[in-house]
Symmetry: C2
Subunit: 580 residues, 2 copies
């Protein structure tokens, strides 16, 4: 809008607020959740041209909706999540989140950035344009995550400054490189400086004492990696916005909630960080956190404030997070406050959700994503590329810890045949490979993993944190090869192979991370995929998630990247065999 | 600082926060007021290069200060005041406020703007540079205040956009023209739009219901003109930051404080609006409000939050208003929390106040103000200019209501001599004149006032809200003339005349509003001035303040400007005689 249009719009808004012209919609007789007074109070809410123009009695509307007996709350805001964890593109995750009463998220697109850099983030921005949902982003601070792996792009200070210009990019995303901050790494500090007038999110698991003070003194203002109550208290006192996380894996709500009281409630948000599509669909999003918090004894108004006004204020989102004149008409109508059961959702003054269903959402057609961008760049390979020559001594074997993303290191002499290490079904020690897929370097990291339990076949994934190379585990080199080839054909995704057959696959053509399908199709595909893994003998929960974290070289104890095995404690590449 | 310097500075800060290099100062063993946790807790505070780098045990400093038994609070922030009301220039008021624990204010310079426009505001900015005190400003929204008077400058949208570029100008100052907002006045709305991403302060006395909703819907986000509890509750619920005011005249603390509780405390600030120098010096500033609030039963931490973290967040002042790493080292050390008795004050990491005295403050020398700017532009006059020709019928007489700025209208036949109206000491009906002083127009408004009680002489003031023409009251035209001439000679100020003698005068060479003297000299001058007014027979409290408000054409019932008598109810100029 130009100034002329803004003036005209504001003139009409004032007229509507004064009741001189009818509002578009008046929600009548509901209990309005007021985050300023901290109370809920019966009243009408008048919406006009996408904005709340008045709350109180006496408004007429072109449409008047009786919401007596229901509650009206602001649309929910998630201040920290990674969309890619859902394997849904922005316009698809928005549909699922809207059903849960969420109308805005602040996403860190660092997965897609690791694959495609700026163009990946631009895709996220474009795909989330013109949908009835607010998608804000933070500029990823740590791409690549480490020097021990090969990723697809590098976001330096120059690229971050480029991102800063996008109006929907609100600040600097979680600064995972806290050792870099503490060591005074100049590039790291320069990134923080570039965003010094914006939100700068933290990521400081177990950071305490002087190191915590230094991390905050450098300009970091939030944390969502807190897992202990006393740690949260220390971070709170030190000025961090505490983002209490309840994701698909990391769940901190029950531990941290006891810290919140009326006097410090302005310093907490609820966030999800990483949520898979099934959890959003079945368990819920922030609605679930609010409900749990209320069950645990929290005042419902305070619980709602955690994911409305508080994140809005933290991120400087004017006009969001509350019900008052001039605020965006992003509203959730609730059948019940304590249950936070969503009856309908308004976004920008229009009803989008009714009785658990989307009633108004633009048809997306072809996503803005271009097929040519998403081809995996893998150098031509054969099964021979996965051979591991035998060596004397014991091998370092990655041992999965069920349900966790940490691994243990285990020393054993692997089985071999003809001078090459082979998978050993009896001991459940299988070959694990990471194939570089961004630069066609031909680099393949080779190792061994214990814990998958496959009796046959192979599994491969183009989701492999944080660089998202291809990671594959399998009983034979041929099947591993076939699994990787299946991914190459799909342009990225997940696959389960048995012999010459592809038992199941989930194409993730967008960066090898996200599906082009809507949520229900994706969930069906994932279900079939997991059932196929069971058929191969794999009984761990969520085996593809476990697989995807075996490449993450910042979590102890032993991981595998395209550059080889990484000893996390030494933070360096180590050979497979101890005496090599 | 350029980026290189910022990086180096941040590196050093991180080292100091980690305790690897000593801090500049460590305050040891005090009780630290923590506005994030809502509690006070014993701890050390380490200051380095003007910033708090750490709070907690184990810091060493080049200087270590034992503050055991004392409290450490953030420096206080006043979110709304008019410096000109103190008659002190910015660098002088800062000295007095620092003694009270205030380290930052957000001032609306609309008095000087009415006299000198942008150059007046630039003076305020320049005079407050390089002092150990943060002086932020809001861009005055209503200059001139009305079309019924002549002021010295006009701030249109263009000028306001110019001001927006100044880093210390935080937003749009109180939008006094609420009728303009409600009527959809385009220039008014365009001013709001120009500051839509900043703080936009309100001024909505008694505004309720749909008009209040409309005023807020237009983009106004705060109010400091609330005088009733139910009015404050309505404004709070409607999303306004409630600035509870306790000035020299308007005092709303006791009425409004009962509304504040732990759940809504984030929506209130303490402000002073208009404070004269004597009150600051004797009663105090925000320290007084905190103390009174605690006496009334408020939690001290919440009371402190009202004038630290809350205004900092409302105005987007990052790094201000709390004690945490990365925050500015603006601190108040208190002997007692409940009394809020200031022991010492640190600004930007340096001790400025110790035992009630400024110990570090730059010598200002000549203020940046240029003498040539401040000459009053009055067309040459003689006593004859103050003649009022007689007319039939009764005259509209302004009647002062003691202690208030409203006036009543009174209809009486004035005394006359030789065809001209003259002052009537017996009935206490005196001549009142407003001499236009900005444009040399020669315009003089003439009227009559009841309530000053002068037996002889005249008083004149170049402070006359809101346009600050010369206002004078007196027994004879000669003495009125002499009083105006005295002001002309001083380049503005206040004067008391008796016959041919000047009994007392206070030069206000800066725009005719502010003194070039430090506070103690000014207070001495003002005391002598008021004593002289008593000698003339004037027994009302603060007669020069009463005089200055007789020209304010937005407060009922009858006022006088250079354009003539203003009937406020009709909002138009009316003749002195009813049947004229």
């Amino acid at each position: 809008m130009n100034t002329r249009e803004m003036i005209e719009s504001l003139k009409r808004r004032v007229l509507a607020a004064r009741g001189e012209i009818p509002a578009d919609i008046v929600l009548k007789g509901g209990d309005v959740v007021n985050l300023f007074s901290g109370e809920a109070k019966k009243g009408d809410v008048a919406l006009y041209e996408g904005v709340i123009v008045g709350a109180g009695p006496g408004y007429r509307g072109k449409e008047e909706v009786d919401v007596a007996g229901k509650w009206i709350a602001p649309g929910l805001i998630d201040g920290h999540l990674h969309i890619e964890s859902s394997m849904l593109i922005p316009s698809a995750i928005a549909q699922v989140l809207l059903l849960r009463g969420t109308t805005a998220i602040v996403a860190d697109p660092h997965e897609i950035a690791n694959v495609m850099g700026l163009s990946g983030i631009r895709f996220m921005l474009e795909d989330s344009e013109k949908i009835p949902f607010d998608l804000f982003f933070m500029a990823p601070s740590c791409v690549p995550a480490t020097h021990l792996e090969t990723n697809g792009a590098r976001l330096g200070v120059k690229e971050l400054k480029e991102l800063r210009k996008e109006p929907r990019i609100l600040g600097l995303a979680e600064m995972m490189n806290f050792p870099g901050v503490l060591a005074g790494d100049e590039e790291v500090l320069e990134k923080i400086i570039a965003f010094r007038d914006r939100a700068v999110d933290g990521h400081g698991p177990s950071l305490r004492g002087h190191d915590l003070q230094a991390y905050i003194a450098a300009g970091i203002r939030s944390d969502h990696e807190t897992t202990e109550l006393s740690e949260a208290a220390e971070k709170l006192e030190s000025g961090m916005m505490i983002m209490i996380r309840e994701g698909s894996s990391a769940k901190n709500l029950e531990t941290l909630l006891p810290l919140v009281n009326d006097k410090n409630a302005h310093r907490f948000c609820f966030v999800s960080d990483d949520l898979n599509a099934e959890d959003i669909k079945k368990r819920g999003h922030l609605d679930f956190m609010i409900k749990r918090a209320i069950e645990m004894g929290m005042d419902p108004i305070i619980a709602i404030r955690m994911c409305t006004l508080n994140p809005a204020e933290y991120f400087g989102l004017r006009g969001k997070g509350a019900i008052a004149p001039g605020y965006d008409a992003d509203l959730v109508i609730l059948d019940d406050l304590e249950d936070f059961s969503v009856s309908s959702v308004y976004k920008g003054g229009r009803k989008i959700v009714e009785e658990g269903a989307l009633i108004l959402y633009p048809h997306r057609g072809e996503s803005g994503f271009h097929r040519k961008d998403n081809l995996l760049n893998i150098r031509s390979i054969t099964p021979k590329n996965f051979r591991i020559p035998c060596s004397n001594g014991k091998a370092r074997i990655i041992e999965i810890v069920p349900g966790e993303i940490v691994t243990r290191v285990r020393y054993e002499t692997p089985r071999s045949r003809g001078g090459f290490v082979v998978s050993d079904k009896e001991s459940d020690i299988l070959k694990l490979c990471v194939v570089e897929r961004h630069r066609g370097s031909g680099r393949i990291g080779l190792g061994l993993v214990k814990g998958f339990g496959l009796n046959q076949g192979a599994m491969a994934s183009s989701i492999a944190h944080d660089s998202h190379n291809i990671i594959a585990v399998g009983v034979s080199d041929e099947e591993i090869f076939r699994a990787v080839e299946e991914l190459r054909l799909m342009g990225g995704g997940l696959a389960v192979i048995c012999g010459e057959e592809t038992l199941a696959k989930v194409p993730l053509p967008i960066g090898g991370l996200m599906s082009a399908e809507p949520v229900d199709r994706l969930l069906k595909q994932l279900k079939a995929l997991n059932q196929s893994a069971v058929r191969l003998g794999c009984h761990i929960d969520n085996p593809f998630m476990a697989l995807s974290f075996l490449a993450l070289p910042v979590i102890p104890e032993l991981k595998l990247t395209d550059r080889g095995l990484v000893d996390i404690n030494r933070f360096e590449i180590v050979p497979l065999f101890c005496n090599a």
